[in-house]
C-alpha cells in the first residue's frame, strides 16, 4: 500500500533521530528555508575544506518528510565535493519529478535518500522533500 511506501521505517528513523542536527558557530555558509504554505522550517550551516563540505548542521521543524529529507541529505553530502553534491542534487530532483521513467534509482549512490522515492506519488508533499535541497542550494550560492 502506498502509505506504507511513503512512511518507510528509515524515514521515521531520520525524522525521530535527525543526523547532523544543530548549528555551527562559524559557518562558511548559512541559509534558512521556509515553506510558508505548511510552516516547515530548515536552518542550515556549512563549512568547507577546499571544495569539500567538511561539516553540515541542520535544525528545523516540520513534517516527517521535510525533516527526514534534511537528515538524509546532511548525511549524504557531508564530506562530498561540490561537484558530487550537485550531481546528487540532480539525481534527487529527478527522483522527485512526477514523470515516471528517467534514470533508474541507484540505491548505492542515493543511500537512505532512495527511501524518499515514495513521496513522488504524493505531489503536494514533494515540496516538503525538496525544502532541504533548495535551502542547500541557497547556502552554496552564497559561497561562489
Amino acid at each position: 500500500m502506498s502509505l506504507d511506501q511513503l512512511y518507510r521505517e528509515v524515514i521515521l528513523d531520520h525524522y525521530r533521530s535527525p543526523r547532523h542536527s544543530g548549528s555551527l558557530e562559524h559557518p562558511d555558509a548559512h541559509a534558512d528555508g521556509h515553506n510558508p504554505l505548511c510552516g516547515d522550517e530548515i536552518s542550515l550551516d556549512l563549512t568547507f575544506d577546499g571544495d569539500r563540505v567538511s561539516d553540515i548542521r541542520i535544525s528545523g521543524r516540520g513534517c516527517s518528510i521535510s525533516q527526514a529529507s534534511a537528515s538524509m541529505m546532511a548525511n549524504a553530502v557531508s564530506g562530498m565535493t561540490l561537484d558530487e553534491v550537485r550531481d546528487l542534487e540532480r539525481r534527487f530532483k529527478e527522483m522527485m519529478s512526477i514523470e515516471e521513467g528517467g534514470e533508474e534509482i541507484d540505491v548505492k549512490v542515493m543511500g537512505d535518500l532512495a527511501a524518499l522515492q515514495g513521496v513522488r506519488r504524493f505531489p503536494v508533499r514533494i515540496k516538503c522533500a525538496d525544502l532541504p535541497w533548495t535551502t542547500l542550494d541557497e547556502a552554496l550560492s552564497q559561497r561562489s
Binding site: 502506498s2 502509505l3 506504507d4 511513503l6 512512511y7 521505517e9 521515521l12 525521530r16 504554505l37 505548511c38 510552516g39 516547515d40 522550517e41 521543524r61 516540520g62 513534517c63 516527517s64 518528510i65 504524493f122 503536494v124 508533499r125 516538503c128
Partner: protein, 416 residues
C-alpha cells in the same frame, strides 16, 4: 418576500442537497471535515446563482430597464434576507463586502484610522485569526495606537482576569472572535461589550465562525460591528457582510471610493450615498450576494437552533471518540456547549501534515497547519495542529472514519 415555511430537515436527506458530498476523493467517499475553512454548497445555492445569471444578469443600481431592475431586486433582496437572518432592524445595517477579512478591514480603515491616535489602544485576544490581527497592526502603524491582548487560559477560554486593568480611557476598540476557528472557543462578547461601554470604546466581533454556527441576534449582542462571510455558511466565496449599528456607520468613512457609493461627484469633492451603499464602491459581487441570500434561506429552513443542536451533538461525539485514541491531544474546551465544531488536535509526534496526508488517502479532508492563527500556535507551543471541523451535514459515521484513520496513522508511525 415571504420566506419558505420552516420544516425540520432530515439529516440523511439533507446530504443529498450537496452534490460534492456524493463524490469520491482518492477512491473513497469524500468525508469533508474542513467546514471551518470553507463550507460545501447545497444545490439551492448553486441554482440561485445559476438562475441569476440565466434570468436576471445586469448591473445593479444603474439601468433604467427592467432587467437591471430585476438584478437590483435580487441583490437587494439578498441583503434583506441576510439582514433578517441576523435579526437586523433594517437592511441598511448590512453592508456587502468581499468577506470577513474585508469587513474587518473596512472598520479598521473606515473607523479606526479616523478615531485613533498616539497612545490609544486596541484590545484583542491571542486566539484571533490573522484577519482580526493584521488590519489592526496596520492601523497602529498609521495612527501610533498600540495593541494589547487578553490571553487564553488553561481551559482554552479567554482569560478575563486582567481585563479591568486594560479598560481605561486609552481603550478605543475591542476586537473579539465570536467563535475560534482553531479552538472552537466561544468568545466572551457580552463581557467585553460591557467593558467597552464603560469607556466608550467600540466592539467589533469577528463572526466568521459564530454567525454560521449559532442562532444570532446581532443588535442584541451589544457589539458595534460584526463581520462575517458567506462561504463559511453554505454560500459562495467572494461575498460577506459587515453588520453595524447605524450610528457607528455614520461615524465611519468610506475606505474605498468609486462608482455606486456616491451622491454627487465634482472635480475636487464628492458626497456620499446613504449607508449601506456608501461602503459598496464599484460593481458588487451580485450573483454571490444572491447565493448568500439562498444560503441563509437554507439555514433558516433547517433552523439555527437545530444547526447548533446538531453541532453540539456531533462535537460531543467527536470529542468522546477522539479521547479513545492514545496520545491524541485536543486543543479546546471540553464542554461541547461552550464551543463550536472546530476540533484541533495533535497525535503524538506525528506532524499534522503527515496526518492530513494519511487521512487524505482515506478520503478524509481535514486541515493541517497554523489556521491563520500564528500567535495562538505560539501560545499552544505547537508549530501546527490538525483540525477537523463539522457542519450541518456531518455525521457520526464520518467521525468514526476519522478515528479509524487516526489508528492507521498510529500504525504507520509505529505507535500501535
Amino acid at each position: 418576500m415571504i420566506d419558505p415555511p420552516l420544516e425540520r430537515v432530515d439529516l440523511s436527506r439533507l446530504r443529498d442537497d450537496f452534490p460534492i458530498l456524493q463524490t469520491e476523493m482518492n477512491g473513497r467517499p469524500l468525508v469533508y471535515l474542513d467546514s471551518a475553512a470553507t463550507t460545501q454548497k447545497p444545490v439551492q445555492v448553486l441554482d440561485a446563482m445559476d438562475a441569476y445569471y440565466r434570468e436576471a444578469n445586469a448591473n445593479v443600481h444603474r439601468g433604467a430597464y427592467a432587467l437591471a431592475q430585476e438584478a437590483t431586486e435580487r441583490y437587494e433582496g439578498a441583503r434583506g434576507k441576510v439582514a433578517r437572518f441576523v435579526n437586523a432592524d433594517s437592511s441598511s445595517e448590512i453592508v456587502f463586502t468581499r468577506g470577513t477579512t474585508s469587513s474587518i478591514n473596512m472598520v479598521a480603515y473606515g473607523w479606526g484610522l479616523h478615531h485613533l491616535g498616539e497612545g490609544d489602544r486596541i484590545l484583542l485576544t491571542t486566539m484571533e485569526h490573522h484577519a482580526n490581527v493584521v488590519p489592526w497592526q496596520l492601523i497602529c502603524r498609521h495612527t501610533g495606537a498600540e495593541l494589547v491582548y487578553l490571553p487564553i487560559d488553561a481551559d482554552y477560554m479567554v482569560d478575563l482576569a486582567g481585563l479591568d486593568e486594560l479598560v481605561d480611557s486609552r481603550l478605543k476598540i475591542i476586537g473579539i472572535s465570536g467563535m475560534s476557528n482553531v479552538l472552537g472557543t466561544i468568545g466572551p462578547v457580552a463581557v467585553l461589550v460591557e467593558a467597552a461601554r464603560s469607556v466608550d470604546a467600540i466592539v467589533i466581533v469577528d463572526g466568521a465562525q459564530m454567525v454560521p454556527h449559532s442562532p444570532v441576534d446581532l443588535p442584541a449582542l451589544g457589539a458595534d460591528f460584526v463581520a462575517f462571510g458567506a462561504h463559511k455558511m453554505l454560500g459562495p466565496t467572494g461575498v460577506g457582510a459587515l453588520w453595524g449599528r447605524p450610528e457607528r456607520f455614520e461615524e465611519m468613512e468610506p475606505a474605498e471610493g468609486g462608482g455606486e457609493m456616491i451622491r454627487d461627484v465634482g472635480l475636487h469633492e464628492s458626497s456620499w450615498a446613504d449607508v449601506p451603499h456608501k461602503f459598496e464602491a464599484g460593481t458588487p459581487p451580485i450573483a454571490e450576494a444572491v447565493g448568500f441570500g439562498a444560503a441563509v434561506d437554507y439555514l433558516s429552513a433547517i433552523g439555527m437552533d437545530e444547526v447548533r443542536r446538531h453541532e453540539i451533538d456531533i462535537t460531543s461525539y467527536a470529542l468522546q471518540r477522539l479521547a479513545e485514541v492514545p496520545d491524541l491531544k485536543v486543543y479546546g474546551p471540553v464542554d461541547p456547549a461552550a464551543r463550536g465544531g472546530a476540533v484541533s488536535f495533535t497525535l503524538a509526534d506525528v506532524h499534522p501534515h503527515d496526518l492530513a496526508t494519511i487521512l487524505d488517502q482515506e478520503g478524509i479532508a481535514i486541515r493541517a497547519g497554523h489556521h491563520c492563527a500564528k500567535p495562538l500556535m505560539r501560545v499552544l507551543d505547537v508549530p501546527a495542529t490538525a483540525r477537523a471541523s463539522f457542519y450541518v451535514h456531518s455525521t457520526t459515521d464520518e467521525v468514526d472514519a476519522l478515528v479509524s484513520a487516526l489508528w492507521e496513522a498510529r500504525r504507520l508511525f509505529g505507535l500501535a
